[in-house]
Structures are given as structure tokens and as C-alpha cells.
């Protein structure tokens, strides 16, 4: 059996957690749209914003 959810959060890299939270908020907004367009681009923007050149 894997780790409980709290331990997964506790052990996670803070940057990963920040990106996950932003992605999940986005997915929640589009939850009821069957095939949301442009959501992949928005996720890429989240990643690019977090890891800048």
C-alpha cells in the first residue's frame, strides 16, 4: 500500500505542489466541458511561468 495523502503532500517538492495546485484549479474550472480546448496550452503556460528562461 502506498503513502497516505497527507504524507504525499508533506514529502512533495514545493515547486511541484505549486504547479499541481494551479493545474487542479484550472481542471476544476473546465470539469464539465467534455473536450476543453486550449487547456493543454494553459497548463504549459503554468509550467513556463514557474520555470522561466
Amino acid at each position: 500500500m502506498g503513502k497516505p495523502p497527507d504524507d504525499i503532500y508533506k514529502d512533495a517538492d514545493p515547486q511541484v505542489l505549486k504547479i499541481v495546485q494551479a493545474i487542479l484549479n484550472l481542471e476544476k474550472e473546465y470539469l464539465f466541458v467534455t473536450r476543453p480546448k486550449g487547456i493543454a496550452e494553459e497548463i504549459i503556460n503554468i509550467l513556463k511561468k514557474e520555470i522561466k528562461e
Binding site: 497516505p4 495523502p5 511541484v16 504547479i19 481542471e27 473546465y30 493543454a40
Partner: protein, 685 residues
Amino acid sequence: MKLLNIQIRNFRPFYGDQEIEFSDTALKKVTVIHAENHSGKTNFVDAFRWVFYGKIQGEHPDQIVNNLALSEVEDNETVVGSVRVKFEHENNNFELHREVIERKIDVNKSELVRENIKLDMIGSDGRSKEKMNPKTMIKRIMPEVLHQYFFLAGENIQELGQETSREKLQSAIKVLMGLEILDRSKQHLRGKVKSQLRGELASVAGRNEKLIIEEQEKLEANKVSIDKRKDVVMGNRIALIEEKDKIDEKLRIGKNTRDLQVKRDQLVADKNDIERRLKQHKANIMKRFSEDGFLAYINDLISKSNIILEQKREKGVLPASISYQYITDILESEKCICGRELCKGSEVYAAVEKLKDPEAKDEYVDAYNSLGLSAAQLLLVHKNLKNNLIKDQELLSQYLNDIGLIREKLEEVESQFDQKDYEKERDLIENKRKLEADMDKASQDIGRFERDVEEIDRRIQEKKIEHAETAAKTKKNRIAKLRLQRCEKVADFIDELHKSLIHRDRKVLCDRMNEIFQGIVKGREDAFIELNDNFELNVREQLPDGGSKLLSKSGAQMQITCLSFIASVVAIAKENMDSEGFFKRGGLYPLVLDSPFGVMGPNYRKHVACKLPQFAEQIIILVAPQQWDKNVEEGMENYIGKRYVFHHYTPKPSEKITQDINGKKYILSEHIDKRTRTEIKEVSS
């Protein structure tokens, strides 16, 4: 969500305009519909499925418009079949209307002209405002995957305990606990996002790196293709299982085959249970080996070390008598007792020289003592490992033996099916065997696909390492690579979280089910529900030796188990509405239940009738007179606000069937030569 009213026009067996007002207050939350079997109960549940999601579960799903209504118009004329539901959701009133228009071609044929769906929100001033995207709005109000637990025909209730329902149960938990957000995130991250980021990396990569990326892409495309093929085979397998279940059900209710089939069902359930435990047991053995297995090979080494230490101690060399001279001799010989060279000035030399210092003596004695202690502990663990492995092997043999015995009994049952007594059911039995052979073939294919994917995953991992080693160190490349790595890390995190949450929520649901189950099966504290790791719903009996055994999947307790699952879903949805949590999805939902009492005895029926209204906000229950006895009436009477009957006109030569309700006789079914139909009539209070 509360159902206020349903209007049905020429829908399936319901002819003309029929209407029901639902009782919807907190105290009077139950509407009862009394109806004979085959008079439209399942079709009434289908009216809800159809108006909300366009789905029909009953037979002939394409025949929406009532046959009598079609027979009454001329060729080329059209007839409308429709369902309109008024409901309240989060203090707003809605009116959902779905209709089909069919054109009559001739006496036996009609064609669909069009289908419309419309959702209006009714304001407090009574004005209606049409919602632009009704299907999306409906999904927000009641997620589609949950509707199968709120609009339920009797046969669907028992189906929840079948193997084919595993995925349905899993998706219900996902939706209820809001975990489909994680599913969708994973799909996006591992799909389009990853592919685009990899494209960006390839555009800034060197030639060698590009080749590795291309190979990795090929491997991943191959993996996707295998996964797709696996999904198709899995879908086919589910269809085969469903087909086989239908035949099993026929054999289960057939007078001639009933006993033998029930025996077979129990044997199959027992076999599956032992196979599951065997799988778990093998996993435990593997875990034991990976943690302590090395000890199996060091027994001699530990013994030899102990002898050497003991000899040294007896000679007074170790530990207390370690002498200044002894260390000096070692340093002069320029060779340590472990064989290493001792060059003056080296770290090793300094470490040995330090032992001349009197203060180092205590540290040295401690190290010696702890070495002896560790060796003793290792020997103990080694002994335990040996004992455990013997026990593991015994249990393994017992499981294999039990499976063998059950297989023999199953073969015996199969050979009984081959006897002349079952000549009439020969086709069914043969067909079932063919389906089982196809199912086995599909399972083997799935296993092969899974092994292929494991191999591809291994090769992808190799490519990733190769890629990391050859990556150019340019800034752009580094950033692109970092983004891709982060994308994978985020997807892995979501994957791990998803698995952990779904198993946690499975436990929450299981505890809730057991709470409800115990409230119904009073006096059977030894029985309990299990929603196992594979999301199979079982009912088990606690045994005095601490173990448990699986109870029959066709008994009343299984029916109660499935109802407990539905009641838990409704209760958790209600609790989630009031609680805070990122993932939780909640709401108040009605229950539309057709023949929920199944094979239950009078006592269980009464407890179910008492308990159900305590969990659901609103219940619409359809029952045949055989299921509505004094016990059920007593259990529910305080909650009943409205009653209706289905008056069914049937061409079958049968006696008039009536039911006494509130001291008055109501016709449920009567013979008619033509104009077969069902009409809905309200029972006066």
C-alpha cells in the same frame, strides 16, 4: 435536487399525456407507485434516464414513441414522444424537456425526424430563461456517472455486486469524491502537454539527443497503441462477461437449473476469493524476500564471524585487551588486519594510530559489543525468516489445494450440466462455455499487452537515462529539459495522490456502507460488507477463528449490500455538500427505485423501508403488490406523501389484478384485445 413533477407523452408504454406530482417535503418525502410486473415500472425509471441523459436501459432502446400513438396516425404523419421533468436545484426551479419526433412509414416502421432537448430555469417571477448548453448544465447538476445510483431498476441493484460493476463502482467513488479532476490532469499532462514540451526540447537539442528523443517518442507511441488495443480487448471482455451474466441469470431463475447454478455461483465466488488471497499472499512473500531474503545466504558468514570474534576475545586481542604494542606492531608491519596497506600519512594509517589513544578505547569496545549484538539479531531474523517461509509455503500449498478442490467440484457441476436432465438448456450452456473460452482468450491477451507495456516502460527508462547523459548543456536546452522533467514529476505526483485518495475514499465509503448495513440486518453482527482493493462489492461472514467467508452473491444480504452502497452514495453526496474540501462533490439527490426489495424476506424489507427515507432527501418507489406487504407499508407510511397506480391494459388473457390502497380497490392490470397501454392514476388520500 428535488423532483417536483414529471409529464410523459407517448413515451414507450405510456400512451397520451400522463403526469405525476412528487411529494417533496422533509416529512413527506416518499411517492409510491403501485404497479404490476411488466406494466411500465422499468420504463418509468427510463423516462428519467432518457430526459436527463438520452439513455434507455430497457429492451428496444430505439423505440421511444408509443406504438399505439403511432398506429393511430396515417402513413407519413408524425408523432411526438416526450418527457418533461420539473425539479428544484440549489433554490432554483428548472424544467427539462426532451422530445423525439417520429414519422410513420407504414404499420411496422417509423423513422426519427429529430430529437430536441431544452432546459429552462424558472425565475421567482415565473419567467423562464433557456439555458444555452443544457447537457453541460445537467452534468453540473447531476454527474452522469452517478445517475445509475439514483435512477435504479431492480435488476440494476443486484448487478452492483457482479464483477462487471467494478469499474462503475470505482467511477462513482471518483466522481463523488471529485477525483476525476486528477484523472483529467493526468491525461492532459501525459498527453498533449508532454508532447508539446518534448517538441520544444527537440527543437533546441543536438543531433544525438534528437535521435534519443525520437526513439523515446516511438516507444511511447507504441505504448499508447498497445494501451488502446488493451482497452478494446478489455471492453470486449466486459461485453462477454455481461453476455455470460445474462445466461447465468437465466440459468439461475430456470426451475430446472436453479439449484445447480446457485451451487456453481458459490463455487466461482469462493474460487475468486481464494485466488485473490493467494495473489496477496504471493505479494507478501515477495516483499519478505526483498527485505530479508539476503539473510538466507549469510548464516555461515555470521557463524564464522562469531568464531573469529570469540577466538580474538579468548586470546585477549579483542576488545578490552587491545594493547598499545599490538597497534604499534600493526602500524610497523604496514598492513592492517583487514588487508589494507598502511602508508604513513594516509587516512587509514591515522585511523589505526588513533587506537593507541586511551580515550578511543571505549569507542572501540562499544563497536565490538554492537558488532556481537548485530550478529545475534541477524541470526534471530534469519531464524524467523526460515520459520515464516515454512509457514508461507504451507499456506501457499493450502490455497493451491483449496483452488484445486473447488476446480474439481466445478468440473463436477459442469458434467452435471451435460446430463440429459438439462437437454432443454443445452444451447444456453454451450453458448456460455463458448463465451467463457472467449473470455479466457481475452484475459490472456490483456496479460500479454501488460507484459509488453512493462517491457516498453523499461526501455523508455533506459532512454531517459541515456538522454540525461547526452543532453547538451546549453541554457535553452536546460530550461526545456527542466520543464519536461517537471511535467513528468507533476504527473507522477498526481498519479500517486490519485491512487492514495481513491483507496482512502474507498475505505470511507465501506465504513459508511457497514453502518447502514448493520442498521438493516439487525442481529447479524457476524456479517459485514467488503469493498476490496479491486472494487468488488462482497458480503462476508466473520468466522470464529478470526477469518471470514464469502456469502452468496444472489442472496438477500447481497441485495441489502447493494442498497447500502446506494444509500451511502446519497448520504456522502449530502455530507459533501455541507463540508469543505477541494475534491469533494456534493448535492442532494432523489432516489427513483424500481422493485428494490428483490429476494428479501419480510423482516429485511421492513428494515429497508424504515432506513431508506432516513438517508435520501426524496424517494420515488415503484413496487409490485407482491413486494408491498404490511411490513413495508408500516416502515414507510409516515413518510408517504403521494401515491399513484399504473393501470395497465394488456392483451395477455389474464384476470383483472387489483390492489387495495387506503381502503379502495385500484385496477393494476386488465385484459384488452387491442390498444395495449399504461395509464397513470393518482390514489386519493
